[in-house]
């Protein structure tokens, strides 16, 4: 009995000591003893979605290195800590704990939506500032401490309608969407509302469900009969490839326009990329875009020797995210001595006042609910690769 009590006491003591050890690591100093601003995030660095996570990791690291080389934020250097969550919500929660022990003061949240909802749940309790580069689900930034760089899922609908109307891509539009999927129907609803406001005519809206996603001939026939000039596809690329194939077979002659769900269509195994020729899609980043921000980013990214497959929209979003944090931190006068909660309060206020130019857009501003407002960027597929429009 006595032995057990002793053991319990010993274990408790060990735990206390370990706690202090963890704090010791998190005193906000680099190896050289200089204080830093600690930025943490988690993302899928291994597994199926590793390209996303490593994109964010490399993009963010590139920005951190550049900022540090130029003297840091308000004279304070930045320090980045990436954690692997394999796009899993539970692992993202654990990663949040690890990062907090490390002394994280600002967070880039997580890379993927599901993980971000869990991560943000913890961060909101601590009033930790979160700016996710790429989590698109609406709920991913619930809470006034969270912001994002990318468009939310439904806001891609608004952005698409704006792009089509403002650039006069078409005036008669048809839509095929997945009514059983929140991403797709969310975009569809916002798209319809914005299209009406912008004077686009939606000549037919066809849908399918997760159970009927192989045969689209009836929907395509309706699109053909409706006289639409453009077919808007707020869906994922695997269904889109079937639609493109069947549209070609049935001689449906329209322009195709999609959102980030179509991103990846060119990487599908054995896919005949000529089917995707001239497909337009809304993505924030194309490697070969000619604007100075993209050229600068792509050149520096390649100079660093990062894996080319991670040079994707996630890397661009993350690169921008770090610069956005810099802009907000300078506006708010953040220093490394402030606690995470103090930093969060100051950044929250600053976010709605700043305007940032970056790779994924120019003149980006934020509303208090965390959603960005920026001009949408679109690409067109030519000869099997993206070309900026």
């Amino acid at each position: 009995m006595k032995m057990k009590k002793f053991l319990a006491a010993f274990l408790a003591l060990t735990m206390v000591v370990l706690c202090f050890a963890a704090c010791g690591k998190g005193d906000g100093k680099t190896d050289s003893g200089e204080k830093t601003l600690k930025i943490g995030f988690s993302g899928p660095l291994t597994g199926n979605n590793a390209q996303y996570g490593n994109g964010v990791k490399n993009g963010a690291q590139l920005a951190v290195d550049e900022i540090n080389a130029a003297g840091g934020v308000n004279g304070v250097k930045l320090e980045l800590n990436p954690q692997d969550d394999e796009a899993d919500a539970e692992k993202a929660k654990t990663a949040y704990g690890v990062l907090k022990d490390w002394g994280m003061q600002i967070s880039l949240g997580t890379v993927t939506s599901g993980a971000c909802i869990a991560f943000q749940g913890e961060a909101a309790k601590d009033n930790m500032f979160v700016l996710t580069p790429s989590a698109t689900a609406v709920e991913a930034i619930n809470g006034d401490n969270a912001f994002r760089v990318c468009f939310s899922d439904p806001n891609q609908g608004v952005a698409s309608a704006d792009y089509i109307a403002d650039n006069k891509v078409a005036s008669k539009v048809a839509v095929i969407y997945d009514s059983s999927d929140a991403y797709s129907s969310g975009i569809y609803e916002k798209f319809t509302a914005e299209a009406k406001a912008k004077g686009l005519e939606i000549v037919t809206a066809q849908s399918f469900t997760g159970d009927t996603k192989t045969d689209f001939s009836a929907q395509l026939q309706a699109v053909k009969s409706s006289g639409a000039e453009l077919l808007f596809l707020p869906i994922y690329y695997s269904e889109a490839t079937l639609i493109l194939q069947q549209a070609k077979n049935a001689s449906v002659d329209v322009k195709f326009f999609g959102c980030d769900g179509l991103d990846g269509i060119l990487n599908m195994k054995n896919f005949d990329t000529t089917l995707a020729e001239n497909v337009m899609l809304l993505t924030p980043f194309a490697k070969d875009a000619k604007d100075s921000y993209t050229v600068n980013f792509v050149t520096k990214f390649r100079e660093k020797g990062y894996d080319e497959t991670t040079l994707n929209q996630f890397a661009a979003d993350a690169y921008d995210a770090v610069y956005i944090i810099k802009a907000a931190a300078e506006k708010a006068g953040i220093n490394a001595d402030m606690s995470a909660s103090e930093i969060c309060d100051a950044l929250k206020a600053a976010m709605t006042q700043i305007t940032v130019d970056g790779v994924t857009g120019t003149g980006i501003t934020w509303s208090a609910d965390g959603e960005p407002s920026k001009a949408p960027k679109a690409n067109i597929i030519k000869n099997g690769s993206y070309v900026a429009l």
Binding site: S207, D211, S251, M268, K269
Partner: protein, 293 residues
């Protein structure tokens, strides 16, 4: 012209359902069990063709033949390992096992081939038919699927009614015990049924993925369930019934997509199914007595 287009695409979709339903109804008719793994054998067959013809670059016909052989072997093995030990168990236990096999195949494919969707290269080389100045378009895949379904339907009917192993199947379906007493090897007959059912699945896989070229580990699941519905619609156990059920299901689905609502098409299909079953509980061609097939 819209109506004709909807009708043709409905027949095209329906002929795929019919082809899959033939396998379902055949196994049900003889072995009196619902092989819910049928759809996943289809997926497996399609992956075999994809691997051989696309990854290794061999001609499509080699892929299709290999797929038929491999699916046949799989069908026999699945029956021996998963269903035979349950021959005396309740039909519910067998049904659950079949669902288990279905998940096993899906997850094995997930492990081996990954979750990303692959684009399947059509094995059909027939040209596309364009009628009425290109207003009505019938793809080569549609023509091939309809032809193959009809040929298989006729061949199966002849096989079951005219050949010795076919008659043995009929006997087993009516009374296993009596069949055994008559000197019929029941186990071998049921194995043969599964072998033929799985070979049909391989053919269905080839044509399904040629018509709808997106291949992933869940490719067979939904068409499998639709085809099962088609088999019930036509009268499960009846071979011509599966054909009629499949085509009708496809046509109803596409016409309701075209004229009523693309969102409600499934609901409409199942309402029609319920009405048919209320009027004729055994399906369109189903017989009341147990003499199915």
């Amino acid at each position: 012209m819209d109506f004709l287009s909807y009708l043709v695409s409905g027949i095209s979709l329906g002929s795929v359902y019919a082809l899959i339903a033939l396998g379902y109804t055949m196994v049900y008719g003889i072995a009196k069990m619902l092989n819910f793994a049928h759809g996943d054998v289809i997926m497996l067959g399609a992956f075999v063709i994809y691997t051989i013809s696309t990854t290794l670059g061999l001609p499509a016909i080699v892929g299709v033949l290999a797929s038929i052989v491999i699916c046949t072997i799989f069908g026999i093995v699945i029956e021996k390992v998963a269903y035979k030990p349950l021959r005396k168990a309740s039909s519910l236990a067998v049904l659950i096992t079949a669902i288990g096999v279905s998940y096993l195949l899906q997850n094995a494919a997930l492990l081996i081939f990954g979750s990303d969707t692959k684009s399947f290269t059509s094995v059909v080389t027939l040209p596309t038919l364009k009628l009425f100045d290109g207003q009505l378009i019938i793809s080569g895949e549609t023509i091939a699927t309809i032809l193959v379904s009809v040929v298989i339907m006729v061949a199966l009917t002849l096989f079951i009614n005219k050949t010795k192993p076919g008659k043995a199947m009929l006997a087993v379906s009516e009374d296993k015990g009596a069949a055994q007493l008559m000197g019929i090897n029941v186990n071998r007959t049921i194995s043969l049924t599964f072998a033929i059912g799985s070979a049909l699945a391989a053919v269905a896989g080839a044509l399904l993925c040629s018509a709808y070229p997106a291949l992933s580990p869940t490719t067979g699941a939904m068409p499998g369930i639709k085809a099962f519905t088609a088999a019930v619609f036509g009268g499960i156990g009846s071979i011509p019934g599966a054909m009629i059920g499949g085509i009708l299901l496809g046509v109803i689905e596409n016409l309701s997509k075209g004229y009523i609502s693309s969102q409600l098409s499934d609901a409409i299909v199942f309402v029609v199914l319920i009405i048919v079953l209320l009027v004729k509980p055994t399906g369109i061609l189903g017989k009341k007595i147990r003499e199915k097939v």
